[in-house]
Symmetry: C2
Subunit: 345 residues, 2 copies
């Protein structure tokens, strides 16, 4: 056994010098290096954009999807959709731990874990695909995977179903970042407050702002607004069209005595919503983009175009302790747990 | 005269409900609203990406470029390149100030100003194109333009040439943000330190870190490194390939006793450099992307992929007082002023 690079560059076959994620092909040789972990995989949770693409290409034929997944992994050494570039995550049991890591991590052989780094950079070998559940983008397999030293993971909790934990872990970055960002007394606007990450963020934002602060949740229609009101996660609920920034600004001002908010958090999954996130924020405030549909240039030029001195943050999927934070939210809020169980498992 | 919307939405013709920048067509009627400013335009500084596109399309024929510019402004009411989407800025004299603004701004009729909002959202009417200088992307015209209430501008200073001031104002956001971000004692990595914004950022970063801190400047080859060393703006100069993140990481560590930096600032104009900006930064540090070639998703997924808990900031072209800050840098540093005069005017 030898020591590999912390970020897994020692497994990059092509092109040399890149990291495993942008690489076209990585080595899925299942002999581990001294600072790697071998996982016996139970199933893959394919990223939603990727699964949709595979499903459309195969016209819903699960056998064809199986063949395609095997082809991709055979070719690239990882399950990275060549069209969307995205991956997903996996669940499995720890089979081997490299000598270098043994005493430095809180894992032991047999632990059931979910990897929190993308499949798009995870060395994977599939022996057999057992089953595909297209409802939840899940692929049950016999196979192995490798976690690099920098790879993040979480032990699956025993007090909830795996599917529930996974649904929450999928958006773990969001509430963890909100916890760091939002202070007592802040006024916070959540765009897309009725979605998966939006609900998490609304709950966490309210917890952080306290009674002196205010959380304003945006929803796209009366039905969703009614649902959001019923959760009581937000102090105010507005209905506005996120692709019409002036509409969002006006509704926000109405809900906040004519004053711009301190922080806005974009939890939408639709494009062209940068300005709707920027306009309602006061000078000196913060705009946090959790949406992967965000355009860097639209945000940068947009803020300049309206002369807004705001700090715009790129949502990082990883924050220290984020898995625990999101699972604890489900433990704290029975209501949120029920909503997640009903909607996302 | 009536009062218009602060952001200029009252001039959007198509599609309704959008802001002037994403709009296809805005009104360039030169009768001003109560909160607008009329400018008698001297020349347009076309954004570099836009000018390059126009020039290529016209195969270098200046007459063809003239015709195309007139066509665009006639059709859209603003000089927004339909291919690149970008604009530029303009120089002119204040001709009229709306009654609502008169007592609230530091401008008077006749002042010579540069607009710091993009031409891609500025109502413009061209009577005649007098001359095009392709060397510096400048179009001399007879014409008028409108500045909205939210529009930012700066009076052109009397102690330097317009061309020098413009070259500096073009990257005004960068040093102003660095001034806010970098604290005494920080270790800062500047990627693309030998370019226009990179030099500004290096100078400002060193000023902020003080003697206890350290500024590391990246350059792509020995020639540029030698030039950067000669400026003494950086404590350390490294040569590294920004599209090879591990190379950048290793060179940075070598220059910093094996320790990751607190802050990295991406001043490059090439794509696929997100990871080179993220890898060298310590957990809890800050990555500041000033490069317009930054991909939001590559940054977001990239940081997660390597398990880096860093705050990633989208470079905002506007920060309070940014024009004064950048012009003062040129007043402070004779060396930087000389370099700018030599390279960018």
């Amino acid at each position: 056994m030898k020591r590999g690079n912390k970020y897994g560059t020692h497994r990059v076959i092509e092109p040399k010098g890149t990291l495993p994620q942008p690489a076209k092909k990585i080595s899925n040789d299942m002999e581990i290096f001294e600072n790697e972990i071998l996982i016996d995989v139970d199933y893959l949770n394919i990223d939603s954009a990727s699964f949709t693409q595979l499903n459309e290409e195969a016209k819903g034929d699960l056998e064809k999807i199986k063949v395609k997944i095997l082809e991709i992994v055979e070719e690239r050494g990882k399950m990275q959709n060549p069209v969307t570039g995205s991956g997903g995550m996996l669940i499995g049991n720890v089979e081997k731990i490299g000598v270098d890591l043994k005493d430095n991590i809180d894992l032991k052989i047999g632990d059931k874990i979910a990897t929190l780094v993308s499949l798009s950079l995870t060395p994977l070998k599939i022996d057999k695909i057992l089953n595909i559940n297209p409802e939840i983008d899940r692929v049950e397999i016999e196979g192995k995977a490798i976690l690099f030293e920098s790879g993040i993971y979480t032990k699956l909790p025993e007090d909830m179903e795996d599917t529930l934990a996974l649904a929450a872990l999928d958006v773990a970055g969001a509430p963890a970042q909100v916890k760091n960002l939002v202070k007592e007394g802040n006024t916070v606007l959540i765009l897309g407050a009725t979605g998966k990450s939006g609900l998490m963020c609304s709950y966490m934002a309210k917890k952080m702002t306290g009674a002196k602060g205010k959380v304003i949740g945006q929803s796209r229609n009366e039905l969703r607004a009614e649902f959001l009101r019923s959760t009581k996660f937000c102090d105010e609920v507005i209905i506005a069209d996120v692709q019409k920034p002036v509409n969002v600004l006006e509704e926000t001002l109405k809900a906040n005595n004519g004053i711009e908010v301190d922080i806005s958090i974009n939890c939408l999954s639709i494009s062209n919503t940068e300005m709707a996130s920027i306009l309602p924020v006061r000078d000196g405030g913060v705009v946090y983009f959790f949406s992967m549909a965000t355009s860097f240039t639209r945000a940068a030029l947009g803020a300049e175009g309206v002369g807004k001195d705001v700090t715009m943050i790129i949502g990082n999927g990883y924050t220290k302790n984020h898995a625990n934070i999101v699972l604890n939210v489900l433990r704290e809020s029975k209501l949120l747990r029920n909503i997640f169980e009903e909607k996302y498992t």
